[in-house]
Symmetry: C2
Subunit: 362 residues, 2 copies
Amino acid sequence: MQRRALLTAAAATAPAALAAPALAQAVPEVRWRLTSSFPRSTDILFGTAERMAQRVAQMTEGKFQIRAFPAGEIVGGLQALDAVQNATVECCHTATYYYTGKDPSFAFFTIIPFGMTERQQTAWFLHGGGLSQMEEMLKGYNAVPFLMGNTGAQMGGWFRREVKTLDDLKGLKFRIAGLAGDVFAKLGAVPTQLAASDIYPSLERGTIDAVEFVGPYDDEKLGFARVAPYYYYPGFWEPCAQTHLLVNQQALAALPAPYRYALETACAEANTDMMARYDQGNPEALRRLVGGGAQLRPWPRDVMAAGWRAAHQLYEEIGGRNERFRKLWESYRKFRDDQFLWFRVAEHSYDLFALTAAQTVR
Amino acid sequence: MQRRALLTAAAATAPAALAAPALAQAVPEVRWRLTSSFPRSTDILFGTAERMAQRVAQMTEGKFQIRAFPAGEIVGGLQALDAVQNATVECCHTATYYYTGKDPSFAFFTIIPFGMTERQQTAWFLHGGGLSQMEEMLKGYNAVPFLMGNTGAQMGGWFRREVKTLDDLKGLKFRIAGLAGDVFAKLGAVPTQLAASDIYPSLERGTIDAVEFVGPYDDEKLGFARVAPYYYYPGFWEPCAQTHLLVNQQALAALPAPYRYALETACAEANTDMMARYDQGNPEALRRLVGGGAQLRPWPRDVMAAGWRAAHQLYEEIGGRNERFRKLWESYRKFRDDQFLWFRVAEHSYDLFALTAAQTVR
């Protein structure tokens, strides 16, 4: 919708006493639809869009209303970007790594295997040029991105049998997508795509050997522990996962400036809130999962090391045929290596001592 | 200022055409002063208040203006809470552990020795009851708190001589304040208070042996490496440091609802932005410091372990005579131990491998 149309609509519905142009501009009624890539069942993910919408309404006296629809109600979860691009909806809440089929460069904005953790990825977006590179790329899809929620480091998924060495991955049918699937293919596994509803029966029958999802809070609902009890960590292909609000360019341009700022700031608040909800919810869920039979297993070091080599080889290969990917990888890698250097000092040395001190210091 | 007074003032200055009550309420002019506990020289800290103020102005079409003053221009950095309580200013940007002299319970809201890291502390505030406990306590000081910025894990400070064992702390004159000073006193050190301008000459002359400040980005400006080259990590007494906007209760109550929501949301955005700026700025500063002669040293494990015991003993002692402290410590400790349990799994195991993988995986 164009700005003029919006203003006219607002003026038409405003009480006569408020019909002066300056006022119509100050408080037009705007209604948007948001399509989420996430179902209602992943309530933290889906709820993040609702929380953002509530804040926007509060800051605009209810004049700017955004209604969030779960995946599948307007379009499917993986069609969210298309729906924004062609203006089926004004905005979506999504993870851009769903669109690596369009361009693998989309992966950087959610996460790449052996990428940065949440704090580091956020610093890259806000003060390392990440968001401006994303904005530049998204122009080609008629969309503008805002950070809106992160899951933190994910788990490595559920396995029917233990993985004791790298050899145990050979031929293993693993439900995992995108660049992470490409990394596992290099390690000898067979990445497999399955609709969500088919995962549990496929694991039960042994049609697949393993599945990865998110972390304890979301994983618990799916009941995988009963059929694939070995629960690996960390999900080295998702040391965090950033989700975004993507807004149709014309819809954004049509907003009065204060509404645009309210939208942007509400996304920033929802971004922090989602991370905090996961951090609050994961410990209890993990405890219940372990109580219910999940067997926690760290990845063997040879799997991690082979994964590291495979991922970096993959980035060189893709960069060789995709200039945008090559440039993004260069920027991302330099920022990541600097962050890793700094986090080794104060943050990691603290964790190394404190996370186990209650058990080890007497 | 009361709500009625605000509305009257707004109506008086509004153009005649906008003088209907509904409008005056929608767009009153509000001007606030913010006193910061931080000087301009700690530009990330001070800049956080300015960034928040800019956002609030953007969301209110410039009608709600907040002017930030560095420490010392209106009141001193440690008088910020008093200035809010007695309505000298409408709000302040501060770290509540400056007020442990009023009540040691204030420490929890910034950080306590061996407390939570930034993600964990944020989860406690937003979804672990931390913020509501803080709001309850701050009512007694006529103030309402909003999260507004975190430094992340700090460094352990600058030492003239190496600390190789716990014994090397005996009699060591260390500029460190609050509960952290009490912990170091239990370890045999002599915590010392000094005005900021006296630190460098005191270190140079040997009147003090050591000083702690923030992290590489802020520490670099003070040039301590020249007189106290041993730069210890981590600052186990500040695994993060949360700062807040504290708002005078009456000033907040007088705001129109959309302004209040804009203020709250702008604080949330500034909260994330400050952390990201530190994360972006610290690696380069650390590299320059090391290039300029700083000698990085991890704390010996016996110092960390003795610190852990001393801190937990201190919390029991204070809790024995301060009921609020006891309840806060109970809530904080339970949440911390749950967070530590969860972070040991996905986050820490990823860090343990990835932070050094570029050097160790061939």
